[in-house]
């Protein structure tokens, strides 16, 4: 508490500083007020104002908009848009109507996408980290190389992939059909059913280094003598992996998988850059669905309602996940 800080300060003050003349008391009390209870809030004001202005204020406004019938004509005075009650929610949850069906479709696509991306990214991260763990020469170089996809700005990385996946002059078709002869003729990767897998691969390319990084850090916290002791008991590398490494990194996995899942579920930038604005049906993630409803069909009330639903879902997911994993641990 700040009071204890003050007391500590008063106690530590050099003798003679207290009962000084009025001339000295003034700056001293001014200094003391500077360490008062109010001070921390002054330092917090800029961060608080920014968070309110950019995050929390707009989020509340978004909740309000979700119960309005808001189109581009009322944007200038959105708070005067006609009340819609729960109509927007009703429309989007009615899976027999095109809007609801489309939302459900994108929800399922996003769920499948998230499960695949998180599982593979985590797997690659673990495999990469434990493979580097036993390496002597070149470890730092490979670590640095593996971090490049993480450091590369998303637009540069994804636009490169977009080129790789071109049908006629892309790298993938060249390798698969010209060099390996696996394909008869060239396949499309950015439209149709393949676009889902393309989106998965590109996202995994960008996400797995993060898993790798976290697991590398976790591995470093396992002391070497644990391995040595178990080695003396005759445990081989596979046994050590199963009985030491994996259990020891479990707490990191708990956070890592949650962070990966949250990030992947609401991903917008990868499909947006990869497919350029209009994502194919097979790869239409929920963020893209919301973006299209808001900024292409200008049904902002509906878009807001979908965003609220997405946030509520993510919060529930986080809550359930944390409860479930804590109980097990």
């Amino acid at each position: 508490m700040s009071t204890s800080t003050e007391r500590g300060r008063a106690g530590a003050a050099p003798p003679g500083a207290g009962p000084a003349g009025p001339a000295r008391r003034k700056p001293d009390s001014a200094r003391r007020t500077a360490w008062r209870r109010r001070t921390p809030y002054l330092f917090l004001i800029p961060a608080l104002l920014l968070e309110l202005f950019v995050h929390f204020g707009p989020m509340l406004a978004g909740v309000v908009m979700s119960v309005l019938k808001l189109t581009q004509y009322q944007l200038a005075r959105w708070w005067e848009a006609p009340w819609a009650g729960l109509d927007n929610y009703q429309v989007m949850l009615d899976v027999d109507q095109p809007t609801g069906a489309s939302l459900l479709h994108s929800f399922l696509v996003t769920t499948g996408f998230t499960v695949i991306v998180v599982a593979v990214s985590w797997g690659l991260g673990v495999a990469g980290a434990i493979s580097l763990q036993r390496m002597r020469a070149g470890r730092g170089t490979l670590r640095t190389l593996f971090l490049v996809p993480y450091a590369l700005p998303v637009f540069a990385a994804v636009i490169t992939w977009r080129f790789l996946l071109q049908r006629d002059n892309g790298m993938l078709n060249h390798v698969l059909s010209d060099q390996l002869g696996l394909l008869d003729g060239n396949a499309f990767y950015l439209i149709g059913g393949n676009s889902f897998w393309s989106l998965c691969v590109v996202t995994i390319w960008r996400e797995w280094p993060f898993a790798f990084l976290m697991i590398m850090a976790a591995l470093q916290s396992i002391p070497d003598d644990v391995y040595e002791a178990s080695g003396m008991d005759g445990a081989g590398p596979w046994r050590q992996l199963r009985s030491i490494t994996l259990p020891m990194i479990a707490p990191v996995n708990q956070v890592l998988i949650l962070v990966l899942a949250l990030r992947t579920f609401r991903d917008f930038e990868t499909p947006y850059v990869l497919f350029g604005g209009s994502a194919p049906d097979a790869a239409r993630l929920i963020s893209v669905e919301i973006y299209q409803n808001s900024f292409q069909t200008f049904n902002f009330g509906l878009g807001s309602a979908m965003s609220v639903l997405l946030l509520v879902f993510l919060m529930l997911l986080t809550g359930v996940y944390l409860t479930a994993t804590r109980r097990r641990a």
């Binding site: 800029p46 961060a47 190389l145 450091a151 637009f155 590398p237 609401r266 973006y291 902002f300 807001s304």
Partner: protein
Amino acid sequence: MMPETPGYRIFRRTTLVVLTVFVCAPLVVMVTTAVKPLSQVQSGFRWIPTEPTLRPFVDMWSTVPLARYFVNSVVVAAVATVLSVSVAVLAAYAVSRWQFRGRESFRLAVLSTQMFPGVLFLLPLFLLFVMVDRATGLELVGSRTGLVVTYLTFALPYAIWMLVSYFETIPRDLDDAAKVDGCGPVRLLFTVLLPAARPVIVAVSIFSFMLAWGEVLFASVLTDEQTRTVSVGLQSYAGEANVYWNQVMAASLVVSAPIVLAFLLLQRHITSGLTAGAVK
């Protein structure tokens, strides 16, 4: 550690080879395509450029106003970084040096903003900017200012987290000594804490700059032709008839290389903050 079994060694080497190929393939394509003439890019893919040329690195500046995008990105990212690191320093100082009501709520609230999907507050924020614009004449939509204000908050959770953990490692004895000397809170921050925290501040700044440099969603809605940043501007190489893939790759390389290098050089500092929270 135990000597490896042959099976384990095969697994390990295969993993490393597969990962290296997976990571490198796009990077190699990016570099080789950037030095090919357009005709060669369009006549089917080849790994090795047969007529290497640096033309794309020259042409890319005139096909689209890349220089303008570049300046916009630099200005937006630099201003956002300076301001957001300053804001984060003040907040982290309060959190690490005082016990006050709402301290935990503040930390949680800031962390929770990382969970918000961008699309959720994009439209309300856009409308809020329009309102501010009308009420005060401060142009936030289509200007760099609006982007700066938005990006300012993106790095705050990471920056505050990282600075708090660092400030907490600086011994309180230093504070107490300074206080006895009659040092006020502001002077304590500037004379004791900040000089000691220089490496963290550099790491946090790079991270914040990276976030602003790479952001696509808000940049696509909040900018116009004059204020467009590279993250959106790169897409304009796709003309009606031709996509200048060689120039796209050259431009991608040029706008990413500095930031990637900075990240890799300072990787230990930057990533220690990312991983510390989870490992603890």
